[in-house]
Symmetry: C2
Subunit: 188 residues, 2 copies
């Protein structure tokens, strides 16, 4: 739980009482490789903090292909965002790529904590904003950069991804075919 505390503190330090109620509300979840945290069609009721391991979010498109649109690593917050926020079933699957340790809190509990501790709601607002900025950067790359540029950007910002994730999933994440990524990689 230290990792979470440290992570939170980088976004917005919270009061000790707020941290106490939060840490009491968290449930530890251990999941083995290849299991699923979230399945399409269900409402995702929990927000998670990933302490150890790695995950990916993907969905199945019309052609029956898996489309990976994010990876989660240590110290990332994880949820099926659309479903968690809208309280509706989502199309997203969250798969465990390495044995993982997470800390979870339910939507209801989190919102109760927001009522009690303004602090916590501020923390979440700030975290949301930072994640929004990251998403914006990804969108800009997707909109105006070539496959090669997107790959090189990934190399620069998140080289660890390339060590830990199969090529096909990275290609999908970059919005290109596995073959194209393989060719780009051989030409660098």
């Amino acid at each position: 739980m230290n990792a979470l505390f440290n992570c939170i503190s980088q976004y917005h330090p919270i009061s000790i009482p707020a941290w106490e109620v939060l840490s009491e509300a968290l449930t530890q979840v251990e999941l083995p490789k290849n299991s699923f945290l979230v399945r399409e069609g269900m409402v995702c009721n929990n927000l998670y903090f990933l302490e150890r391991g790695c995950l990916r979010g993907y969905y199945n498109n019309q052609d029956g292909k898996e489309v990976t649109y994010w990876f989660g690593f240590e110290n990332n917050f994880i949820t099926s965002f659309y479903s968690f926020i809208s309280r509706k079933p989502g199309i997203e699957n969250i798969q465990v790529l390495e044995d993982s340790t997470l800390w979870g809190i339910s939507f209801e509990t989190l919102n109760q904590l927001f009522d009690q501790h303004h602090d916590l709601e501020r923390l979440v607002r700030i975290i949301n904003e930072q994640y929004y900025i990251r998403l914006e950067e990804r969108l800009m790359a997707m909109q105006f950069k070539t496959a090669r540029e997107r790959y090189e950007q990934l190399l620069g910002t998140s080289p660890h991804i390339l060590q830990r994730i199969p090529l096909g999933q990275i290609a999908s994440y970059l919005g290109i075919s596995q073959e194209t990524l393989s060719r780009i990689r051989s030409q660098v």
Copy 2:
């Protein structure tokens, strides 16, 4: 200001006192077509609500080309998000595409209001979340749909954009060249 009140209420109804301090804190801004709300290199200190008119956010890429990455219409919240949140200069320009009426609030004032009215911070958290979901949808379209599919999706969700915005800017927004968009359009 009614438009803002109605818009807010759809996200999260706030208390009357909260609305009162908020509406007192807002400054009306009128801008003519082709003027700029934000210029690259500056820190964007304000969050705006667009009551009337339309705007676009764009930046100049390495090749010196304008890259449009969003449009704002009536009842949208507008800011140079990265700059507003991080308090750093951004690369974004926000240009007025039609004579516009906006209501603005500064970063400092907004944060003071957050301290006084938990309600307002919740409202902003919720709005942020909804905007996050929209961005996620755009990213998914950009990642896995063809130019034609993205255009047709835009036709379905925001046909008004096509009436009000020059083709070149729409093409840039969709991440394709103007010529390609023109050809797609002639084939539908």
